[in-house]
């Protein structure tokens, strides 16, 4: 099947960057991102650095989710549970390997990604057989089951109290928050780079073909179920990495860190950011950190008890409505923040 490369119809027709080999461009973005993060960790005060680290951790998840939902058309309301899988893996392994040096963290995080991948494969196999509301329902059930699992097997997971994550202090005299930001953004940038390369190639085309028209994709020789399961697995691996990094950040894991609202927030964040674009995933991750903080700032002066802790949700809802009305393509599609999505064909198309 020959894929015709269209030119993007919006914005200037050709930019100089588009003629440069894409590998070099991706590499430049990654290096640029790394430099920017390192610079920020030196410029920002500790708490802001911690928030920056949190954005990095969430970015792993939103990037994977935007590929799954935006490019492959599978809605997942259960990514919070996949994050929890990664987070608990880190907590349990770090406890087992305590006191053996920094390398244990790498092992734990890799194991977290591996386990989330397995969990993703299981959910993905079921998900590939389901469509629309049934898919949403299944993934929702996965998200809801986390607290039940932790309290059923409380000897392992310690129920609502959760587990502490044993971490070695950062090497040398690096402040904890700076170290955390470096770790999280290493994960985030690697995720972004991997996903960008992945969706650019054949796999990306197959994903989008399946999203747009399964029958047509099948006729063209694309394995629909295989593509769907694979996409789910990739996305789950990203969620597992994000969850592992969240565990490292909080130095503890508990079911309360991965409630149903987190899964819903993740979906909302990628929609507001711009579905199907990695830049949108970035803006989504920023929102995930910024909006609750904003909610807190707003309520500080007033009697916060009346709001029953629902203000962040309300803020998210309002932002969603406003952004969808002003920019249906999400924040990433806004000028001057306009950026071409991963591939000309990735723009959301409404199926009739």
């Amino acid at each position: 099947m020959s894929i015709v490369r269209e030119r993007v119809s919006t914005g200037p027709a050709v930019t100089p960057t588009r003629d440069r080999p894409w590998k070099l461009r991706y590499l430049l973005w990654t290096v640029g991102g790394a430099v920017a993060v390192v610079a920020l960790t030196y410029a920002l005060p500790p708490f802001r650095t911690y928030q920056l680290a949190t954005i990095g951790a969430y970015l792993c998840v939103t990037a994977g989710l935007t590929v799954l939902t935006g490019l492959n058309g599978q809605l997942s309301l259960g990514h919070g549970a996949l994050m929890a899988t990664g987070a608990y893996t880190v907590a349990l392994l770090q406890d087992k390997l305590a006191g053996r040096g920094q390398w244990t963290l790498l092992v734990s995080v890799l194991a977290a990604v591996a386990l989330a991948t397995v969990a993703g494969a299981v959910v993905g196999l079921a998900a590939a057989r389901l469509r629309g509301p049934y898919l949403a329902g299944l993934t929702l059930a996965v998200a809801v089951v986390v607290p039940a699992i932790t309290s059923t097997f409380d000897t392992t997971f310690n129920s609502d109290q959760g587990l502490s994550v044993v971490l070695d202090p950062p090497p040398g005299t690096i402040p904890v928050e700076r170290w955390q930001a470096w770790l999280c953004w290493t994960g985030a940038l690697l995720t972004m780079l991997t996903l960008a390369v992945l969706v650019r190639g054949r796999f990306g085309r197959e994903m989008r073909a399946v999203r747009d028209d399964e029958t047509a994709a099948r006729l063209a020789g694309v394995g629909v179920a295989r593509t769907q399961v694979l996409t789910f697995v990739v996305s789950a691996a990203c969620a597992g990495l994000g969850g592992a990094l969240v565990a490292v950040l909080a130095q503890s894991v508990s079911p309360g860190a991965f409630p149903l609202t987190l899964s819903l927030f993740l979906v909302m964040a990628i929609v507001i950011g711009g579905l199907g674009s990695l830049a949108g995933a970035f803006w989504g991750a920023v929102l995930l950190v910024a909006l609750p903080a904003l909610a807190h700032t707003v309520t500080e002066g007033i009697d916060a008890q009346r709001l029953e802790g629902n203000l962040p949700l309300a803020l998210f809802g309002v932002t969603l409505v406003v952004v969808m009305l002003a920019a249906p393509g999400g924040i990433a599609s806004l000028n001057p923040l306009r950026r071409i999505s991963l591939h000309p064909l990735t723009r959301i198309r409404r199926k009739a």
């Binding site: 802001r48 609502d160 109290q161 502490s164 830049a279 802790g309 001057p336 071409i340």
Partner: protein, 421 residues
């Protein structure tokens, strides 16, 4: 290079946010975070909303009211106390967030009375790493008493194991031969309480646990009824005490309930139960602070004055008494730490101990003991009123005997503010 512009915009946004949010740390003479010549900033995490908010949400405002009262009378060594209260919804993950904000952004001098066993357990290491004094944790977990591991953390409540031993001793004396069972929170709170109970009574006939994220104790109560329990000991937060009483009544299960102090404030329980309030009749519990209904007690008179002047005349219950008692002890500590206030100085002042306050039991602070109050007096609900009976008992969290404690409680100073030693 649109991407670059995006990145630049993002940078600018972050920088702007930073600029907006960071008020420069005032240059205090001693260069201690959160302390200036005219102010001391302390913070706390509390469940103002969520499953454990019932009753507990009143604690921090009561502490704040007492600080306002002290501030109006000139503060401590000329400094006003600012109390930042953060809502963590009793969710350990949120506690992590808000405590980081308090320490890293608001630069608080100390964390005071952070509430909850599961919530506070998660921030111990963080507070230790940042050398933040962590005073008078609002929980009876034994974790706060580890001077070697957490030198800056101190308890306040009687620890759950000590309390469990005292409650179990009462059960042993008055309910001999009865089938005793246990329902507790599925965390250190429940585990520590059960450990104390079993030290005295041996293994309980049946034990059940609950999690705050699932507000349903039907299966647990059913199991206890099945097991033929005649006495049910509860290590529950107030909302779940009420839920347990209500659920038991629904299935026609009427054991003698014996409840941990942290889940037994009658005002809160009555409010939670509404028309079913009479279910609290006969409830056995214990406490170490004056009860809110004891109008003859000079501490209660003082607290009621402060409550009407600085707390918007909030409904006066044991949570208000608790919050103000914590605040009183904190002011005592600040007085003892002296004018040149540092974090190390504060911790040294607590370790020096010797505080006389509203409690009927001894405060045990020393270099080697960071637990709080060390004893309890039994209480009972009779005719819709909660009242003390018997004597004050004290014990340790190991295998020490449960013994009566007979020292007379202190009276508050005439102006209601502790003086510098």
């Amino acid at each position: 290079m649109r991407r670059t512009s995006t990145a630049l915009v993002a940078l600018a946004l972050v920088a702007a946010a930073t600029a907006c949010s960071d008020s420069g740390g005032g240059g205090s003479s001693s260069n201690t975070p959160g302390v200036t010549g005219s102010e001391i900033v302390v913070g706390t995490h509390m469940p103002l909303t969520g499953p454990a908010a019932a009753g507990y949400s009143k604690i921090a405002p009561a502490s704040k009211a007492y600080f306002d009262y002290v501030n109006a009378n000139g503060g401590v060594h000329g400094r006003k106390i600012t109390y930042k209260i953060m809502d963590d919804t009793y969710n350990p993950a949120t506690t992590q967030q808000v405590v980081r904000e308090l320490v890293l952004q608001d630069k608080v001098f100390a964390i005071l009375n952070g509430l909850g066993t599961p919530t506070h357990t998660g921030v111990l290491d963080f507070l230790k790493t940042n050398r933040v004094p962590d005073l008078f944790v609002a929980s009876g977990s034994r974790s706060w008493n580890q001077p070697d591991k957490y030198p800056g953390t101190f308890g306040f409540n009687v620890d759950y194991t000590v309390e469990g031993k005292i409650l179990a001793t009462h059960v042993k004396q008055t309910q001999a031969g009865k089938k005793v069972c246990f329902l507790g929170q599925d965390d250190d709170f429940g585990r520590d309480a059960l450990a104390g109970i079993e030290k005295i009574l041996g293994p309980v006939a049946a034990k059940q646990s609950y999690v705050t994220s699932n507000p349903n104790v039907g299966p647990q109560m059913g199991a206890l009824k099945q097991a033929g329990c005649q006495v049910v000991m509860l290590a529950t937060v107030p909302g779940f005490t009420a839920l347990s009483l209500g659920t038991a009544s629904k299935i026609g299960f009427k054991p003698q309930f014996v409840v941990s102090q942290v889940g037994a404030d009658l005002t809160t329980l009555k409010k939670q139960l509404g028309p079913a309030a009479p279910l609290t009749e006969g409830l056995i519990s214990d406490n170490y602070l004056p009860l809110s209904t004891d109008d003859a007690n000079p501490w209660i008179q003082l607290y009621k004055r402060v409550n009407s002047q600085y707390n918007g005349n909030a409904e006066f219950d044991n949570n208000v008494v608790y919050g103000m008692s914590v605040a009183y002890l904190f002011v005592q500590t600040l007085q003892a730490a002296g004018k040149d206030l540092t974090r190390d100085g504060l911790i040294a002042a607590v370790e020096k101990g010797g505080f006389q306050g509203p409690g009927m039991a001894p405060l045990r602070f020393s270099k080697t003991d960071h637990s709080g109050y060390g004893g309890m007096k039994m209480s009972r609900v009779q005719g819709g009123e909660q009242a003390y009976f018997g004597t004050v008992y004290q014990t340790d969290d190991a295998d020490g005997a449960v013994q009566p404690y007979t020292a007379a409680p202190a009276v508050p100073p005439s102006n209601g503010i502790p003086a510098a030693p």
